[in-house]
């Protein structure tokens, strides 16, 4: 529920309800805020497992899917704002941007990777895909890295905010790598002594 607050706030500003507004450049403001919250929620989603494990609070896992879907909602709106309001369905310029502008290539790829994850987020798809579901959903790591790259590559000089996201993401992915390595060590039987 809390995750809907930034969206509600943006809607108030978009429709200029009360004393709120999006300022002189509403399209850029909308796009920036939606993308920013999408990335924050995506990183928050990736923080769920490490927190649940290290704090021994398994119930935390139950919010992971919801957080992920909230992240996807913000990023889908971010994408749509770009596609509709910023580019006005101008497919030629959209394709040119995706191909020529590395930061857009990264952002577009990240979003494209998240679409199948959102689609297969239901219980039915989890059952249907079985073990393959886990493998498929590892794409979220790639998407999150590309999301940070997308942000970093478009700032002009002030890299402080993207640096914070990249650091948190690196810590979360580092935790997973360490755990994966520890697990594979456990799985492999110790060499038998002769």
């Amino acid at each position: 529920m809390l995750c809907g607050l930034p969206l509600a706030w943006l809607l108030l500003r978009l429709f200029e309800i009360g004393d709120f507004g999006l300022g002189a450049n509403p399209i850029d403001e909308l796009m920036d805020r939606l993308g920013e919250w999408g990335l924050r929620l995506l990183i928050a989603t990736l923080a769920v497992t490490p927190l649940a494990v290290t704090l021994r609070k398994p119930w935390l896992m139950s919010v992971r899917r919801l957080l992920g879907l909230y992240a996807f909602t913000y990023l889908a709106l971010h994408f749509l704002t770009w596609f509709v309001l910023d580019q006005w369905f101008d497919l030629r310029s959209i394709v040119a941007d995706v191909v020529k502008r590395p930061y857009i290539t990264a952002g577009f790829t990240a979003f494209a990777l998240l679409v199948p994850l959102a689609v297969t987020s239901t219980d039915r798809w989890m059952r249907r895909l079985g073990r393959r579901w886990h493998r498929l959903h590892r794409l979220v790591y790639v998407a999150a890295i590309l999301g940070c790259v997308h942000f970093w590559w478009q700032v002009k000089a002030d890299w402080r905010e993207p640096a914070i996201y990249a650091t948190v993401l690196a810590l979360l992915l580092g935790w997973r790598l360490r755990r994966a390595r520890a697990r594979s060590r456990l799985a492999k039987p110790a060499p038998a002594s002769a």
């Binding site: 978009l14 200029e16 507004g21 300022g23 002189a24 450049n25 309001l85 941007d97 002030d158």
Partner: protein, 315 residues
């Protein structure tokens, strides 16, 4: 929040509405807060003073200007922060008066001048110019200022003066953005001397007929309408005449992205985004981008300056 642009045939709000009202509650409060925090004298009065000037219609666009609110709340002035709203929010304690400007380098008339002495001989005029930001948005702004060329003439540059370099004030205590090296402070810019003396190049001291607000580069800023906005350096404290091309801040920060010339050019993309089209601020959420014109629409007046120069290499 006014976003619609004005019909040019209509009177300016400043002509019919009392200043205290159209300035807006927020701005007044902000200015008052600035007074309270800075404990400054009444020199930085919350209600800016009207200027005396004539309108220069010949060198002004007839496009409708952006609202005062848009021009003063959507700014790139990294000395006050990198967010577009930071300069209007965080410039309240900046003191643009008293102010001095140092004239240095290859000129006969060098020295440090008070702002008043510097401005005295120059009659002010209004120039309504398009401003095109390198970030692909644009505005139309009614500046009040005078031709830089007139000042250059007064300084009597020597034959060695090929360039004019500018420097922004460095005051981290009043400019919170300068407390972190986002750019290598102080901000510096430069022009070739023929660009500096071109009739379109002005030093601005006002906006909408009033003294320039802090967030727009008070008390003295450059306006070069055919170049990307970052060339139009704000809050100038030094004007230096040089023989060699002076360093410029954005070029130093990212040389492959920002050149010395930075002429508006739809044919030469910024490496990370297209420059072919621009969003006119105030046009509304459902308006498409408009095509960007070579030299921001001032090609007739300035293209001759660059004859024989490869503008792809000299971006």
């Amino acid at each position: 929040m006014p976003k619609r642009r004005r019909d040019p045939s209509m009177a300016l709000p400043s002509e019919i509405t009392p200043r205290e009202i159209y300035l807006g509650r927020r701005r007044l409060l902000g200015a008052l807060a600035g007074l309270a925090i800075g404990g400054t004298s009444l020199a930085s009065s919350p209600v800016p003073a009207r200027l005396t000037y004539r309108k220069n219609a010949a060198l002004s666009t007839t496009e409708p200007p952006n609202s005062y609110e848009d021009i003063t709340t959507y700014n790139n002035f990294y000395e006050f922060g990198t967010g577009k709203a930071d300069p209007s929010r965080l410039s309240g304690s900046f003191r643009p008066r008293p102010w001095t400007v140092a004239i240095t380098g290859e000129a006969e008339q060098t020295g440090t001048y008070t702002l008043e002495d510097l401005l005295k001989p120059h009659p002010l005029e209004e120039r309504i110019y398009r401003l095109r930001c390198v970030e692909a948005w644009s505005m139309v702004i009614p500046w009040v200022g005078f031709p830089l060329g007139d000042l250059v003439k007064r300084c009597r540059p020597t034959s060695r003066a090929k360039y004019v370099a500018f420097r922004t004030v460095e005051r981290p205590s009043e400019m919170p953005g300068q407390r972190f090296p986002v750019l290598d402070w102080p901000y510096v810019e430069g022009l070739r001397i023929d660009e500096a003396t071109h009739p379109l190049t002005i030093l601005a001291v006002g906006l909408y007929g009033e003294v320039l607000p802090n967030q727009n580069g008070a008390p003295l800023r450059l306006v070069v309408p055919w170049k990307y906005g970052f060339k139009s350096i704000k809050s100038i404290v030094e004007i230096r005449f040089t023989e060699r091309q002076p360093p410029t801040s954005w070029n130093r920060s990212a040389p492959h992205e920002y050149g010395f010339y930075a002429n508006v050019n739809p044919e030469v993309d910024h490496p990370r985004w297209s420059q072919a089209r621009e969003r006119r601020i105030g046009a509304g959420v459902f308006s498409a981008r408009q095509p960007t014109l070579p030299f921001n629409g001032y090609a007739d007046q300035v293209a001759a300056l660059y004859r024989g120069l490869d503008l792809r290499k000299n971006y």
